[in-house]
């Protein structure tokens, strides 16, 4: 134990910040999921109309398809059906019809505001409790 640290209450501060860090993810996770849901809706609007199977396969998951948990703060929205990739990138004989690229853009301003608010609330709640 560092007596100097104890004298200045650094142990308490360290504990409070650790609590805050754990709580932040719980608060931010739903906001990230909400943003990805919005991106998913944007993709559904943009995907070529003759690709219903691709549209139905658009999902929100954690990174690389991982299950979403209450503390997940990194995720992705996109199609799982292979045609989605062909539409997005095109082929040698078919022009790309991108619908994933840029699907987050219309929602980022709102996302930044919501996640900042959630992170602040989470940090304060973590310190108070």
């Amino acid at each position: 134990m560092n007596p100097v640290g104890k004298a200045f209450g650094l142990d308490d501060l360290e504990r409070d910040l650790a609590n805050a860090a754990r709580t932040i993810d719980l608060y931010v996770s739903p906001e990230v999921h909400h943003t990805l849901d919005l991106a998913k809706e944007t993709q559904i609007e943009r995907v070529a109309v003759d690709s219903g199977k691709t549209r139905d396969s658009i999902k929100v998951t954690g990174l690389d398809g991982a299950e979403w948990t209450p503390t997940t703060v990194n995720g992705e929205a996109g199609p799982t059906w292979f045609v989605g990739a062909l539409l997005e990138h095109g082929t040698a004989t078919m022009a790309p019809k991108p619908f994933v690229e840029g699907s987050l853009d219309p929602h980022m301003e709102d996302h930044k505001a919501r996640t900042l608010r959630a992170a602040t609330n989470g940090a304060l709640r973590g310190i108070v409790t």
Binding site: G90, T91, A92, T93, A95, P96, P98, E101
Partner: protein, 141 residues
């Protein structure tokens, strides 16, 4: 606040750079007279596709939201086999990134390779064609 800048000068600059390749270049479609997959003298070609434009760039200011647009491009390199497609992709990257890009009326902040799709086989045609997709990002101000 000014209006968003036209993106056609940037498209033209990239097309001009690709045309130094001595390969047929298509502008958002296969080049005029492009080889078909069963052509014994198939000639490798590339196609430029302008993709999304973010008029509001990451470093745009509050007083001018359109000051720093971000443009994304895709170049699809098409060959009769894996090596031809990959070689064309390498040539595309060298041609586009080998010297600073100049866009009329704008300052190029950054022009970079922004990912790729490795060699794929397009079996929609017989015999199949091979292609590589390269993405590029152009930051202007």
């Amino acid at each position: 606040m000014t209006a968003p800048a036209a993106t056609t000068p940037a498209d033209a600059a990239i097309l001009a750079r690709l045309e130094t390749l001595q390969l047929p270049v298509g502008d958002a479609r296969a080049p005029e007279g492009a080889s078909t997959s069963n052509d014994p003298a198939f000639r490798t070609y590339v196609i430029l596709y302008p993709r999304t434009v973010s008029h509001i760039g990451e470093t745009s200011t509050v007083t001018n939201r359109y000051s720093d647009p971000i443009l994304r491009y895709q170049v699809t390199s098409v060959g009769v086999d894996r090596l031809a497609a990959k070689t064309a992709s390498d040539l595309v990257c060298a041609a586009l990134l080998g010297a600073p890009l100049v866009v009329a009326g704008r300052t190029v902040v950054a022009f970079m390779h922004d990912g790729s799709v490795p060699v794929q086989r397009d079996e929609a045609v017989t015999p199949p064609l091979f292609y590589v997709v390269d993405y590029f990002r152009l930051d202007l101000n």
